[in-house]
Amino acid sequence: MKHSFIDEYSGLDSFVHRLDPRTKLLACLAFIVAVVLTPAGNSKIFGFYFVLIVVLILLSRLPLIYVLKRSLVIFPFVLMVAIFIPFFKQGQVAGSYNIGAWQISVTYDGLFILANLIIKSWLSILSLILLSSSTKLADLLEGLKRLGVPHIFVMIISFMYRYIFVLADQVMRMKQAHDSRYFGGNYWHEFKILGNMIGTLFLRSYERGERVYLAMLARGYNGEVPAKKRLHYRPVDAYFGIAIFMLLVSPPIIWW
């Protein structure tokens, strides 16, 4: 089975791709912190950050369309969390509707907060996409390890990445097996089958986890993996880090 990988474009070669993963991780984190800390409604600062991230994406030679498409995944999550804010926030009413006995009103303040949330999360996801598409996952994990993230978390991410496609294959085969014997039925019954499938998948993953652990034990695993691959921190990483830091800090100083 051929699947597109999370780090599909990480094999490209560009200035951004060649940076040390630690530099990129820290820069990405700093970018997100800066975006989140920017007070609502500061459109100039947001605009500046947007231009910054777009420039970096262009520098990394990632297809812009691909990045934009990927970034859309954030919206369902943001909307799920924030969609009710405009209805509950007190303030000047932008519009109100009567649904049965209820009166529902949307306020400008609420809409303003929602818009800010969307902008902030979108900018953040753009930087994360840039990070994950310009760094091989193995390097990213090595970077996390070197930055002091506990070994167990790094390992969990590594297994997730390794087995997510095995799981996807399993789901696909289960679905094919189901469809081959499915001749239409009621909706409720379908839900029950879906529940069973998810349960089966969980059990299989659990058992696979145990077998993988056995395979690790058999090769001398004892809970720790000594660090192996060396990452190379070059002067260009320092230049990039300083530049990013200055670019992130200067707009609030200028426009605040």
Partner: protein, 239 residues
């Protein structure tokens, strides 16, 4: 100097934690350099027996691997000496790329980076997969995965290879490759399988296991030639 037996098992019985029996009263000696097949129908206890060879499963019995009793203090040494290859290579190849998978054992054993690299290169050459180090395991064919799985234990320079169904789900050509590959390795091999073609081509001695007991332990030709025996234990078709 006496050559140690690769495997010495005295009175091994094992029950699964849920109370289901696994192995009953197993006595087995394998000399260094032997190629032994463990055959038997599904659920006979073949895999369970293999898992005892490197101390992953343990029970009250006298078990010696390459001269070392299976005890906590020897476990690291034993796991280095026993290369265990699991049936599903998807379980064995859990790293992000082939190099890391093959390097996993040597790294755990605490070898220097240079030595790890040397061992990985050597192991990959042994299985004819040079140039695959940077590939991601998920995108390999099943035959390639099986060979990399063998490389992951060869990199530890083991004295004993324990293989669980090495030819399952391989096409005839892949199976041919694998048989040749296993023939080319000169260390002791214990192969659990019900692929009789593999057994015939590779193993001098065959142990027939059924319901957790050793039913027969003779030369491969004798066991496979005994049609009544094979039929009685589900290894040949009834007629």
């Amino acid at each position: 100097m006496t050559i140690e037996n690769a495997v010495e098992i005295r009175n091994l019985s094992y029950n699964y934690p849920d109370g289901q029996w696994g192995l009953r009263d197993i006595n087995l000696t394998v000399s260094a350099g032997e190629v032994v097949a463990i055959i038997g129908p599904n659920g006979a206890g073949k895999s369970t027996l293999l898992l005892h060879l490197n101390g992953i499963l343990r029970s009250k019995s006298e078990l010696k691997i390459c001269g070392l009793p299976v005890e906590d203090k020897n476990i690291k040494e034993i796991r280095k000496k026993v290369g265990m290859i699991f049936q599903d290579p998807e379980d064995q190849l859990f790293s992000l790329n082939v190099f890391e998978d093959v390097a996993f054992g040597p790294v755990n054993m605490g070898y220097e980076e240079k030595e790890v690299g040397r061992r990985v290169a050597l192991a990959l050459r042994c299985v004819g997969m040079e140039g695959y180090a940077k590939r991601s395991s998920h995108h390999l064919s099943i035959g390639e995965k099986k060979r990399i799985a063998i490389a992951t234990v060869l990199s530890l320079d083991p004295e004993l290879l324990a293989l669980d169904e090495p030819t399952s789900s391989l096409d005839p050509r892949g199976k041919g490759y694998l048989i040749e590959l296993l023939r080319g390795v000169s260390i002791t091999r214990i192969i659990a399988s019900h692929d009789l073609e593999l057994v015939q081509h590779l193993c001098h001695r065959t142990i027939l296991l059924d319901e957790g007991r050793i039913v027969a332990d003779r030369s491969t030709g004798e066991v496979l030639g005994d049609t009544d025996l094979m039929r009685a234990h589900g290894l040949a078709r009834a007629n």
